[in-house]
Amino acid sequence: MVEVASFRIERVEILRADGTLAAPLPAWAEDGAELVRLYRAMVLTRVYDTKSVNLQRTGRLGTVASSLGQEAVAVGTAAAMRPEDVFLPSFREQGAMLWRGVRIEELLTFWGGDERGSNWSGPREDFPICVPVGTHAPHAAGVATAFKLRREPRVAVCVLGDGATSKGDVYEAWNLAGVWRLPMVTVVNDNQWAISVPRSAQTAAATLAQKAIACGMPGIQVDGNDVIAVREVVGRAIERARSGEGPALVEALTYRLADHTTADDARRYRDDAEVSARWKEEPVARLRNFLVARGLWDKEREERLLAECTREVDRAVEAYLARPPAPATDMIDHVFAELPPAMAAQRASILRRAAERAERRSEPRGGRP
């Protein structure tokens, strides 16, 4: 019996749950303004999440997935990227999308059930929200292949959940990234739950980071409730990828404090006690404590920030609600670059249906069906 290979998985922790330092700060984090920027982004995300859940509850938005408690994963990841990198989100990375320039109004438009929300003005090459779990990992590999073939120093960054790590297409994409040395970084938002299925029921792997070993790329754990650590570790992975050294997998350990989505009731399957315990580790208070201890933050600034974020979100909500609906033909006019003549009759039917539905709406109740 000879040993032919050996591997180790490490975890990076910087800020402790109480906001004290477990390890030295990275150089960039000595810049207080930068930390405040990260803090602001997390708070904005939380205000947005709260608002969008409320909008759903009051029937003005469809199902939404709050990122409560996981803001550091999204914000830290986005902050580690360059604008010209490409981001491929799943459905819980609003914090990252906002950082990269997707507008709140656009996010609301999407979750409100209108594809125009994904035609955002911001990062034009970023991928839209991916709902089928993990299916965007191969896209990330494709984007990264494009960068590599064009010799562009850019990186494809993909975020997915602990549940997604059980999908074969995710594994296949990682395996390709490994063997083609693609500039692709995957961040696993390991929030311990895939709806009602706990992390322990997804896989017997002791860490999700070690799944990278199967694909010949580095895997590392990071405290996902510490935005400084996330930004640092993801940043290193991204810059390594940018310099041509290939892909990496970052497992960000965090916790889903909210229900899976507004369509879920987590009390059916997990203990409140577990959730309460995890509240002690959440990323926003953690960074705030650190900022306060460093003299970078105080109650007054906190109040100002909250008011500011609330205003920003409220304004976006107003714009969202005021936006005129898309024309009926929107559903057919973008399917192909040019509408095939064979589909002209269907386009006409859509217009006919639209006219009929409008007429029906305008009729008094009890009118024609």
């Binding site: 469809g62 199902t63 459905f91 999407f110 979750w111 409100g112 059930g113 209108d114 594809e115 709902v131 089928p132 779990v133 993990g134 549940g163 997604a164 059980s166 999908k167 074969g168 895939a194 709806i195 009602s196 299925v197 029921a201 997804q202 896989t203 369509a263 879920d264 059916r268 399957y269 609906p325 898309a326 009926a328 929107d330 559903m331 057919i332 399917v335 589909m343 269907q346 039917s349 859509i350 249906r353 639209a354 009929e356 539905r357 029906r360 024609r368 069906p369």
Partner: protein, 326 residues
């Protein structure tokens, strides 16, 4: 005997099947403690335990193949897909294995599995949660495709699907999961897996549909009756094998046919039925067949969904078109 919703009828049939046959298992994502996102498996985990109700890791391709292995070993796994839009990864296992294991081994091994999923639109759900993929499944040799349209039919057809010795895709119209109640006798009686249901007799035209389109067709038939038009409503129910006799009889009598479904039209499920009429019912047709369907576009997000899905008005318009041929 009690008045159940469709999703309750599904749950009742699952419980009955698990009770009478220890080889019946329920598998899928969140089917255990959570009881499934639509609560179709609610209470089963508590009643039958973790060895009969199994939450799998998140992978549809996997649990389809897992069911094939279990089926070959004599279990009867009933797999729940969380939503229709996540069924496509199952096609590889369904076409290449489930549908041919028996034939491939000339009967040595078989595949008594059921793939269940909430399906169709109308609940303003997110992307990929409102698909109507029945045509994909109905084209697969060796596989049955069944779609109930009422609580009682859900109960009887699901029992039949679970007891059937071969693979069945069972699509549950989520839009009517809780839309109405119907008396369901939990007597373990199955319904046949190759029979359409004539829900309303009529002379002037035939409305052919299934799933959540059935209530719309019944409503349309009611309206037409007010106008003195007698419409027959047939719930196709078992898309494969298709009950061609009932369909041909009905259209043979009425001479006019409107097919209603939620899927896109091209190469869609309605095509086979219209083809049946062109092949075997041509001379009874007094008017061209009309298909009332969605469009050949990706299912839109909820804001435009209402225009994508057929409504009663669209069905009535189609009926008037076929009636115009005298």
């Amino acid at each position: 005997m009690s008045a159940l919703t469709l999703v309750e009828a599904v749950r009742t049939a699952l419980a009955r099947a698990m009770d009478e046959d220890p080889t019946v298992l329920v598998l899928g994502e969140d089917v255990g403690k959570d009881g499934g996102v639509f609560r179709a498996t609610e209470g089963l985990f508590e009643r039958f335990g973790p060895e009969r109700v199994l939450d799998t890791p998140l992978s549809e391709a996997l649990f389809t193949g897992l069911a094939v292995g279990l089926g070959a070993q004599g279990f009867r796994p009933v797999v729940e897909f969380q939503f229709d839009g996540f069924m496509y990864p199952a096609l590889d296992q369904l076409v290449n294995h489930a549908g041919r294991l028996r034939s491939r081994t000339r009967g040595r091994l078989s595949c008594p599995i059921v793939l269940r999923a909430p399906y169709g639109g109308g609940i303003r759900a997110p992307e990929h949660h409102s698909e109507s993929p029945e045509a994909f499944f109905a084209h697969v040799p060796g596989v049955r495709t069944v779609i109930p349209s009422s609580p009682a039919r859900a109960y009887g057809l699901l029992l039949a699907a679970i007891r059937d010795p071969d693979p069945v895709v069972f699509l549950e119209p989520k839009r009517i999961y809780r839309a109405f109640r119907e008396e369901v006798v939990d007597d373990g009686k199955a319904l046949p897996l190759d029979r359409a249901f004539v829900l309303r007799q009529g002379r002037d035209l035939t409305l052919l549909a299934w799933g959540a389109m059935i209530p719309l067709c019944l409503e349309a038939a009611g309206r037409l009756a007010e106008e003195g038009v007698s419409a027959e409503v047939v719930d196709v129910a078992t898309l494969k094998p298709l009950d061609t006799a009932t369909i041909l009889d009905s259209v043979g009598k009425t001479g006019r046919c409107v097919i209603v479904h939620e899927a896109p039209p091209s190469y869609g499920p309605g095509a086979e039925i219209a083809a049946l009429l062109a092949v075997a019912g041509l001379f009874s047709l007094l008017a061209p067949v009309v298909r009332v369907t969605a469009f050949d576009v990706p299912t839109p997000l909820p804001r435009l969904e209402d225009l994508f899905l057929p409504a009663v008005a669209d069905i009535l318009e189609a009926c008037r078109t076929v009636l115009a041929h005298r």
